[in-house]
């Protein structure tokens, strides 16, 4: 039931949450990343997400599997959107369910931190003043899974 995907259209967070859950789980967690209207003090009106798509799907699957192993749960779902997004649009949704709450928090946090460290996705911020720039990011490392900073 591990689910990982990269999509072009809008993400429905409730549908991602609906992919997890089971009778043995007492906790479910949904994390949603959203395009916000500012970054580093500049007003933002949108964002273009580019991906090395084939690899991004594989890395997202690997991250979800690792999170599931850490949490002792195969109820992990993650969807990342690419393309042109506006303020308020959902860029990523992560859902996890586990018997106890601590593991859901830990696993969802692991997924988003690893996305920041390893997922071959880039974003170009479009500022309200008309300029655009690639956002600074993390340099992925070759030796296996990334590490949470």
């Amino acid at each position: 039931m591990i689910h990982a995907d990269v999509v072009d259209g809008p993400i429905a967070p409730a549908e991602v949450l609906a992919r997890v859950g089971s009778d043995r789980d007492g906790a479910a967690l949904l994390f949603v990343g959203v395009v916000r209207d500012h970054d580093g003090g500049r007003a933002v009106e949108g964002m273009r997400y580019d991906a090395y798509r084939e690899m991004a799907v594989e890395v997202l699957e690997a991250i979800a599997e690792e999170a599931g192993e850490r949490a002792g749960s195969d109820r992990v779902a993650v969807v990342h959107r690419v393309g042109e997004l506006q303020v308020g649009d959902v860029s990523v949704a992560i859902a996890v369910s586990t018997p106890h709450r601590a593991e859901s928090f830990d696993a969802a946090r692991y997924v988003i931190e690893q996305i920041k460290l390893r997922l071959p996705v880039w974003k170009k911020e479009h500022y309200v003043d008309g300029q655009s720039a690639w956002k600074d990011g993390c340099v992925p490392v070759a030796d296996g899974p990334g590490r949470t900073p």
Binding site: A51, A56, H80, K116, R118, P120, V121, W122, G137, V139
Partner: protein, 83 residues
């Protein structure tokens, strides 16, 4: 003897080079480092690529010393910023 590898460029690297992919001939047994050096030796805009960029070979992050084979897909990965 040379072999052909397929290089891919994303985001800022794509903007820099004005191209998304390029087939490149490298000597048999060449490493990622060798490929990067040979591209940078072409002069601008290639010379502006980092000397040690993050690279994925066949969709797995690879060390500079990784050896390349015929048909490998070598992606130049600018600092990532997903999420």
């Amino acid at each position: 003897m040379t072999v052909s590898v397929r290089t891919l460029f994303f985001a800022a690297y794509r903007d820099l080079l004005g191209t998304a992919e390029l087939d490149v001939q490298v000597p048999e047994g060449a490493t990622v480092s060798d490929l990067v050096a040979s591209l940078r030796a072409r002069g601008e805009p290639f010379a502006s690529l980092p000397a040690i960029p993050a690279v994925a070979v066949n969709r797995t992050y690879a060390d500079p010393g990784a050896r390349l084979g015929a048909g490998d897909e070598v992606a130049f990965i600018p600092p990532v910023a997903g999420g």
